[in-house]
């Protein structure tokens, strides 16, 4: 491929932004607790987890367990392959939106495997909670993605960015944008949607993880959140469009704004119980996103 350095820069940038998100989250937690604020905390955590012993449970399914833990980060890196950094993405697929959706669904399998493989009740319940969460958020999420693709009449991310040269999609698809942000939190089991790793299950899927496995899993979670925030920019916020600054800088600024908002929301609200959220997702969010798609389709037909 012509731009070989993109395949290094893309995941590296994803990692740096994820580290920034972790630092911001640590700062917010420290301020709420009235503790000294240390921005370097995620890096120290990184080092501490590298020298920590890995947990072993009796009769664990080690292959599934370890593969599941690593799978979350892999899903994030695969998903970010279609996000444009500046002008072009690492891979300019003609079905970029579908690729993003498929890569993120890998996290479902990863989380279930990580929960089931540990042979622990809390992990098992956490894994199944994520499956329930997936069933709840996935359809509204897909409709939000399709609405953006509908506005550009193409599944290529580059075409979606090009279609926003006059007005950003967030202006005339606000419902889809809000639903996308909700699903970004849900897909990375953060914020009000962290029941799979909830404190009430002593950490849920993460209850039996320590050392390198915990590092890979927790890092993967932030990578997934960052990838979802990064995808919001070409889909709804005009990609690299904007005055004065170069395109790639605009992409970074917009990603940081979306990511900062999602990180801020993380601890602001109590965890939503999945049995109650599923009802809202199917009875409220799906009709809303369908209506939004209808409005967008009518506008596209008329212009």
């Amino acid at each position: 491929m012509s731009e070989w350095w993109l395949i290094v820069l893309g995941p590296a940038l994803l990692g740096v932004l994820a580290l920034g998100a972790a630092s911001g989250s640590a700062v917010l937690d420290a301020r709420a607790a009235g503790a000294p604020v240390r921005v370097s905390q995620p890096l120290r955590e990184f080092g501490a987890l590298l020298i920590q012993q890995r947990r072993v449970t009796p009769a664990a399914d080690t292959v599934l367990w370890r593969a599941g833990g690593a799978g979350v980060g892999v899903a994030a890196v695969l998903a970010v392959l279609v996000v444009p950094l500046g002008h072009r993405p690492i891979s300019d697929l003609s079905i970029g939106v579908v690729w993003f959706n498929g890569a993120e669904v890998l996290a479902w399998a990863a989380l279930w495997m990580a929960g089931w493989g540990a042979n622990s009740v809390f992990g098992l319940v956490g894994g199944y909670r994520f499956v329930a969460q997936g069933l709840a958020y996935e359809l509204p999420h897909m409709f939000a993605l399709i609405t953006a693709a509908l506005g550009a009449q193409s599944l290529r991310v580059g075409d979606i960015v090009a279609a926003q040269s006059h007005v950003w999609f967030v202006v005339w698809m606000p419902v889809a944008f809000v639903v996308y942000l909700i699903s970004a939190l849900a897909m990375s089991f953060s914020g009000p949607f962290d029941q799979p790793v909830g404190i009430d299950l002593a950490g849920g899927v993460a209850a039996e993880l320590s050392g390198v496995d915990r590092l890979v899993f927790a890092g993967g979670r932030y990578l997934l959140l960052t990838a979802a925030a990064a995808m919001a920019v070409p889909l709804f916020l005009g990609g690299d469009g904007g005055p004065l600054l170069p395109g790639w800088l605009w992409v970074l600024v917009k990603t940081v704004v979306v990511l900062g908002g999602l990180v801020w929301l993380r601890t602001r609200a109590p965890t939503v119980r999945m049995d109650r959220f599923t009802e809202v997702a199917w009875v409220v969010l799906i009709p809303l996103t369908l209506l939004q798609a209808l409005v967008v389709a009518v506008v596209v037909l008329l212009t």
């Binding site: 080092g47 020298i51 920590q52 009769a59 009740v121 199944y128 404190i199 609200a269 109590p270 119980r273």
Partner: protein, 317 residues
């Protein structure tokens, strides 16, 4: 250059506080130190690298929890609240000492041969695996001294029995520190409900009330208003664990935590020992048929004061 020693020095202590009856004073002192120093309070033993024991607990429980802490790790016992700071310092120093950590050797435990899970019909008559899961006493954000034996199918409770573990010397919460007790119960419930920011603020307010017997009224008011107005929290706790109280009213989990918020501004609290006994007797009936998240929320909203109950029911010589 010893990279492991350098990383060990930079390790943030992640403290798992194992509390038994009689250890509430020590636990409060330890939690305040953890918060002020910026350490993490571990949610599970696998996440922790320091184990602090407060109060009276089975030695077997403490050993099993210690075996689950991944190395490098350190442990200490806190007997008196005034000793909490020294014990924590000793534990953190032991954690950061590469020589002692390298010398630590854990015997790999001989794992017993386990059978597959037994089966039993569930609520629809379908034969499903049954798991026997005890919740507590070494669970974070859990009432001290309670062990709840559950028979789970999936994450739905089929049967439940309560057991009280440990022995108490005397109750900690009296009529003079009602607001602090309410804040303590609230921070546990907000933790279980997943609202970490509000739980952190509640801990900060609780520590202020305990040390200064008063707190910045504006801060407390703002926090109370935010929690009271939260529709998401009510959505989670509405309709859970409906119980007929001593004065005849029927209260669900939401009503109970609203009552704690009222106690912050001067409302009186019901006698804790009798309330704890009533709640423990009703608990098995409340949790059967509920899923695990609801069980945790029900127990957190009841928050029985087991120390007071044990002290009140202890045979008087």
């Amino acid at each position: 250059m010893d990279l492991t020693a350098a990383l060990l020095r930079g390790t943030r202590p992640s403290v798992f506080v194992l509390t038994g009856p009689g250890g509430t004073g020590c636990r409060l002192a330890v939690e305040q130190l953890i918060r002020v120093r910026g350490y993490r309070q571990a949610v599970a033993p696998a996440q922790a690298n320091v184990l602090l024991r407060c109060g009276v607990l089975d030695a077997e429980v403490a050993e099993r929890v210690w075996a689950q802490l991944p190395l490098p790790a350190a442990r200490e016992k806190v007997t008196v609240a005034a000793e909490a700071e020294r014990a924590l310092d000793r534990a953190v120093a032991e954690l950061a000492d590469p020589v002692r950590q390298r010398a630590e050797v854990r015997a790999v435990p001989a794992l017993p041969e386990r059978d597959m899970a037994e089966r039993a019909p569930d609520r629809d008559g379908v034969s499903m695996d049954q798991l026997h899961v005890p919740l507590g006493p070494a669970l974070s954000d859990w009432p001290t001294g309670l062990r709840l034996h559950l028979v789970l199918q999936g994450d739905v409770v089929q049967a439940a029995t309560c057991q009280v573990v440990g022995a108490a010397a005397g109750p900690f919460w009296t009529v003079h520190n009602v607001p602090a007790a309410a804040l303590d119960s609230l921070q546990r419930m907000l933790g279980v409900a997943g609202w970490s920011a509000a739980a952190s603020t509640a801990r900060r307010l609780r520590d202020e009330v305990l040390t200064h017997h008063t707190t910045a009224a504006t801060q407390l008011d703002r926090w109370v208003r935010r929690v009271r107005r939260s529709r998401l929290l009510r959505w989670s706790t509405d309709g859970l664990g409906v119980l007929t109280e001593a004065d005849g009213t029927r209260a669900d989990a939401t009503a109970r935590w609203l009552r704690w918020l009222d106690q912050l501004t001067g409302a009186p609290a019901p006698p804790r020992a009798e309330a704890a006994r009533a709640h423990l007797d009703a608990l098995p009936g409340l949790v059967v048929g509920q899923e695990l998240a609801a069980v945790r929320l029900i127990v957190a909203s009841l928050d029985p004061d087991i120390e007071a109950m044990i002290s009140a029911e202890a045979p008087h010589e």
